[in-house]
Subunit: 509 residues, 2 copies
Amino acid sequence: MFESAELDHRIDKKTFKQEVPALRAALQAAQYELKENGKIPVIVLVSGQDGAGKGETINVLYEWMDPRYISTLAFSEPSDEERDRPRMWRYWRALPPKGRVGIFAGSWYSDPIRLRLENTLSEAGLDARIDQINSFEAMLANEGALVLKFWFHLTKEAQKERLKTLEKDPRTAWRVTKWNWNRLKTYDELQDVAGHILRMTNTPWAPWIVVEGTDDRFRSLTVGKILLDGIKRRLATPEPLDTPVAPPRPPNIDGRDVLTELKLDQVMAKPAFLRELAKWQGKLAELARDPRFKNRSVVCVFEGADAAGKGGAIRRVCAALDARQYQIVPVAAPTEEERAQPYLWRFWRHMPRTGRITMFDRSWYGRVLVERVEGFCSQRDWLRAYTEINDFEHELAGSGAIVVKFWLQISADEQLRRFKEREQVAFKQFKITAEDWRNRDKWDEYHHAVCDMVDRTSTGEAPWTLVEANNKDYARIKVLRTLCERIEAELAAAEVVEKKSKKKFERQK
Amino acid sequence: MFESAELDHRIDKKTFKQEVPALRAALQAAQYELKENGKIPVIVLVSGQDGAGKGETINVLYEWMDPRYISTLAFSEPSDEERDRPRMWRYWRALPPKGRVGIFAGSWYSDPIRLRLENTLSEAGLDARIDQINSFEAMLANEGALVLKFWFHLTKEAQKERLKTLEKDPRTAWRVTKWNWNRLKTYDELQDVAGHILRMTNTPWAPWIVVEGTDDRFRSLTVGKILLDGIKRRLATPEPLDTPVAPPRPPNIDGRDVLTELKLDQVMAKPAFLRELAKWQGKLAELARDPRFKNRSVVCVFEGADAAGKGGAIRRVCAALDARQYQIVPVAAPTEEERAQPYLWRFWRHMPRTGRITMFDRSWYGRVLVERVEGFCSQRDWLRAYTEINDFEHELAGSGAIVVKFWLQISADEQLRRFKEREQVAFKQFKITAEDWRNRDKWDEYHHAVCDMVDRTSTGEAPWTLVEANNKDYARIKVLRTLCERIEAELAAAEVVEKKSKKKFERQK
């Protein structure tokens, strides 16, 4: 992997001076085309051996390109806001918007490499990380991103020389610390680990580009040209990565499915309701203040037909909680900043810290429900969303989040009754729009979409709970009870595992 | 202040049931009007005695209104990202966008009240906080916000009753902790402190509304009606608060000013430049790694005529720094999310954490430069901006940020020369647009605006440095040297103060 970067590549001053002006002009032109195009975020990872010119390369790119459309994303110790969330959260929040270039000084590769070197990450753990990274980068590519991963390489001897040179110059001496000299000692180990990780993550949609870092001019010119070439190619390709997706499935031939099997009309008398409400709200209040909950969070999804009672159910949950502990995220049309990012970005930004609860009133499942049925996205987009969503929820669950998903189902007759009621009561009128009536016309298509969604995204770690919701009181209790039982079970399970291994959730460092 | 909230106000069930439907409908209608109007953020502070119904009120508002356009902002312990920034940062990041309602459960009042009760904030310290709050709320009102501050009041006896009732119900028992019972003991002190703060911050543009919290129905109905009334009034008032502003000042009668006095053509030979560059970059690298810098940050503003060399100067600064330590923020047109916020919001979001450096390539001074000259905002807006900016930088400086501001000045002839050069060199063409030529036609107006800006915003804690920039090398060294000297002086000054008092910067808790 590193052989061709050990040939002592060099570019003389004259050639460099001749080539740079045209390259600069072309890079800037490419930037404007990117901006005009508005669909492609460019993600450049700058990584490699110490002293191989990572910082210098970033400076060169800033000099050559239009800095208004570049951002540098650097990562040191994670903040507590980052530590309290899934590992990838800090990278999601740093993604450049479409049309811009984001240079990552340090990235999602830094931790696995470091942890593996320190031997605090097992081989199996590393493999899991690699899987996660490959899914993440495939998602980026599918969303239109150009991902270029540079690895600057130096031979051990060259690295030693480089450190010495840096140390001599007062402007750069600070870059060389004891840590760097130690790294030199572990040069071979790093080569091994990096070689393995690079090989396993060297995908067609996010290839590694190993560049010899010895000579500044060679390195800068190589990076500039590859970046330019990458942008041009990507601009010339109308469709980004076309990941294979499982085809849609027709409805079951006997007409039965998870929704038709629901007994929508459930009985719940008022006194029983009030008793149960007090019981489960009390239970939830207790659980939310359980010391074991401090390291966990709840991500709660409410989906359902129009007028199925999502809002009412959410309010019954909130009534048991401290306002500082929960957040309700009503999902509406994405903002301009959200539209400039991968689909899941606008949900990632609302992920709760540990000890907190976020309730999504509609969610990322919009992609496989309304966007599918209304044709707001391509079939390819909603088909690959199932996998992306499963990866996403796997990541959440792996970080200790308790993912609870409700589908509130009512009958077509009950919906009609509620629509009419809404139209008659002044303070309910805002809840009923022409769109609701239009959606109702597509009842069967939604029905099919919901069944597909449940089939493909109800997982062990993030199962769907289908709620029979013709009776509002019954539905509210089922939601509260399910939520409590899930939290309780998760806290208990974690405790068992913790006793065994003292660390279930591999936390970020 | 609290007398009329001790009359044991009560509303019977029947009246309540009669009044609520119309109120709900009206509140929702008001929300849609707000959304349609798109200019007014509604900021509702929910505060007061424990057990006076703060949480219940939030739940009621969620029930009565359209929750899609409400958000609740709750504040517990600040995160490290918040602690590492100016005190108000966490409130700025939580502000609701225009057209929406943000309910603050806890606010910028919580800390001063608590700290004063604990006696860790002196009377003078409290006064400084009150000044800051009044400026902040005036800014909000000037920016179009409706600010409603509710204080729920209970007599000592009623509070005791309330705590007992809450304790009995399993759904609410968790709300009552030892801390609450202790608060009861300090009831009188809280009344004193709150009374003082409420009186001092009871401004016409952000009035306090004291509401008796004993009876749920009375409290809910009162809050709902006042909120409705506030929104309606604000919608009916085309101009928000019209704060008096100092009038613009004509140019000096002798034609001399801070810019005409600059000797723009400075001499700096190449060898001297390279020597100085190495010296100051080395110095900067050292300072940025000084242990004393860990609690400080640098906010660096680069302003200047077009083609004055801001980008080049910024790059010479960056070359001395670790990519993880600095961020360059090129200021372009605001995004949709930024336009939905007060003017300074988009700069607040980029404020560095302690130990970091942010360089603004153009800045909040756009308001009194380009926006003033081009008429992008009203005269009233740019005139009040001087005060808002001074308040803003005072806040930054008070939090330990080192605010360094550069104006790079070139002559009209030099600018013409650079424009022409830019047009001829391919990789510089992106830097020159028709807009630059148009701006050049307004040279005198910009000149006048810059002089006003320096006159009104060069303060002891955030002074302007005017940089003679016809010679690029000279300008780069002056920038680097000034930056180093400012940081050095600030670190030394803080040390002296620290030795005396062991805490200069009152940090958030």
